[in-house]
Symmetry: C2
Amino acid sequence: MSVFSFKVVKELGQARLGELHTPCGTIDTPAFVPVGTQATVKAVSIDDLQKLKIQVVLANTYHLYLRPGVETIECLGGLHKMMNWNGPMMTDSGGYQVFSLGWAIEHGVGKVVNFLADDSREEEELKRQITVKTKSIIPRQKLCVVDDEKATFISHVDGSLHVWTPEKSIEIQGKLGADLIFAMDECTSPIHDSDYTRNSMYRTHLWEERSLVKFRKLHNKFQEIYGVVQGGPFEDLRIESAKFVADNHFFGNGIGGAMVTKSKMLEVLDWIMSILPADRPSHLLGIGGIDDILNTVGYGIDTYDCAFPTRLARRGGLLMLPEDGGKLLNRWTLNVVREEFKNDNSPLSQNCECELCSGGYSKGYLHHLYWAKELLIFRLTTIHNLYVMEKLMSEIREGIAENKLEKVKRKWLG
Amino acid sequence: MSVFSFKVVKELGQARLGELHTPCGTIDTPAFVPVGTQATVKAVSIDDLQKLKIQVVLANTYHLYLRPGVETIECLGGLHKMMNWNGPMMTDSGGYQVFSLGWAIEHGVGKVVNFLADDSREEEELKRQITVKTKSIIPRQKLCVVDDEKATFISHVDGSLHVWTPEKSIEIQGKLGADLIFAMDECTSPIHDSDYTRNSMYRTHLWEERSLVKFRKLHNKFQEIYGVVQGGPFEDLRIESAKFVADNHFFGNGIGGAMVTKSKMLEVLDWIMSILPADRPSHLLGIGGIDDILNTVGYGIDTYDCAFPTRLARRGGLLMLPEDGGKLLNRWTLNVVREEFKNDNSPLSQNCECELCSGGYSKGYLHHLYWAKELLIFRLTTIHNLYVMEKLMSEIREGIAENKLEKVKRKWLG
């Protein structure tokens, strides 16, 4: 019997409460997965993560492959032991870096959903703006080129050349030793047309098949693998890709790639979630905005990873609970960097129980720490933002359990 | 009755065990005082400091005056409340910045004892080398000029001009609200000759008298003031300055300034400690190397402040306990930055109980965090180094209490 299993405990519409069992523990889903790119969730310790009741973290295979390197991680006992994290862990495949170090760096774009705050502008207008933006950016040398066989990277650490194949990604992820790993894909850019996206999707399917073959060969019973649906914002491609993932023997469904707008993301989920096997856990790659989670949990998404709450924290952005005025309109964010908080001796929140809020640190002191470039602020704000994310997820789980998910959504969206 | 008092509990030769009572608590002496320049001990939280049993911290008046500014600190409830530290606190006078932003910046020198590891080279040779070094450095615009009335600073934060007087220093320190403050002095440079040092010392005495007058006028019973002995490496000047401090009604004796070599520092203490009133606490300003503390505690020094252990930590330097091989010869330092630790999966210490060592983090992981520029390392290494400093001080106190100080010195010096 496999040490891995996924059990849907309760359904409410398509939303579901689940238990994702791994050798390192059980993840109660829906769950948010903080990102620990380089084998550390930036600015916080494992002790901090445990106090925050973080259930699972995601590390980036390509980054760790470059630094400190697979051999070193093996010497240090694998990823879990090296970073002292004994809970469940995910690694990605390096496929996102194919995009972020390739097309993204060359054209100065992100995964569009991440930099678009709302959908009030029409999609075509957005595309136009992206194109304008793209053309106004001085082209930079991209660090990755792709063909059907492989991705070829120039290391952003030391300029060395690296060839990345699906087999290599799976082999490295095997050595890193995370519980849940991903098949290698190519993440497409929002500026790609349907032709490029279609060809890329077929390449992704080839890569995923090779990933799966390699994975099965390794016979590692302490690891399970997710497939990844690609296909950009195109309905026919998404459906085809979802069928591909469904038809192959993956443990979990990953949903990746560019979706152009937040409303397009919901459309994509509409197209694919009924195709993907419901008895597998579904992971939405790189998505974790508060509204994104609230709006997609009803489609049956079980886990989310995103650097947003921890990155926001390091820029002085503090997530606000609904009790403290957090809502869609203000993006749940209070930015202590702003001048208005300089002399503000009030605490951030009376409702939050994190180390920052219960410690009695004032907004004015945080403002000072930010501008004085003091290291303390990064940890305190990261702890706070992760606390808010965990609070969100526990309220969502409670909402599903107690048939009041809509109430939770209303409360948070404001 | 004053809420401040200093009680010598036990003497062993000139070394003494003391209790320094302040309104915010009692400091068991000898004690090490971590530096929190900008109202935070870099990289650690108040919770961390409390777990480390840190008794007292020192903040820098001039830095806080520039940023966030006195008005803001008052709005935020004073220094204690602003930074959430309810234990004893010291502030310096800004006198050290007269040196560090003036002569030091112009001539590229430090307080020599801080950059000379040993006294194996002769003093004259050292002076020659300093002069050579000084002349080879491209002169930089100094940010402070001094006359008998005042020090005039150009802010290193925004280039604005600030006039600093003894009265202003005391007034600002009053508003910051630390328990123990310092009279304003001019810290001289190791390259100053006896003429400059003599004139500077008289200026310091004038400034200290003015500091004292201003301090008494403020009638702040929640604050006490230290005088500061200056006079460089010159015997006649040091004796004259010690007499000045002794003859004036200061609560504590501060010992400041350049002493050129570590052995000269001991000579200076030989000259002055019998002159300074023994019923006052004595503070050695800016000194806190492990050997410096071990070698001066026998002269009757009660408290030490120094940025060294926390700064070393941020550069990847980890202090080693004697049990782990720490000794004078290796400066008690293991530097995880070095290549040899890349694949080292052993913990730093089996004997240290700090969060880093008890948490199971390996030297190889710390090496990775350092080179990956990950924020986590700064906090872990700072916690460790402060733990070692506290361990040193508690063993010194135990050594005095149990008449075995020499044994403690032998153990640590190796």
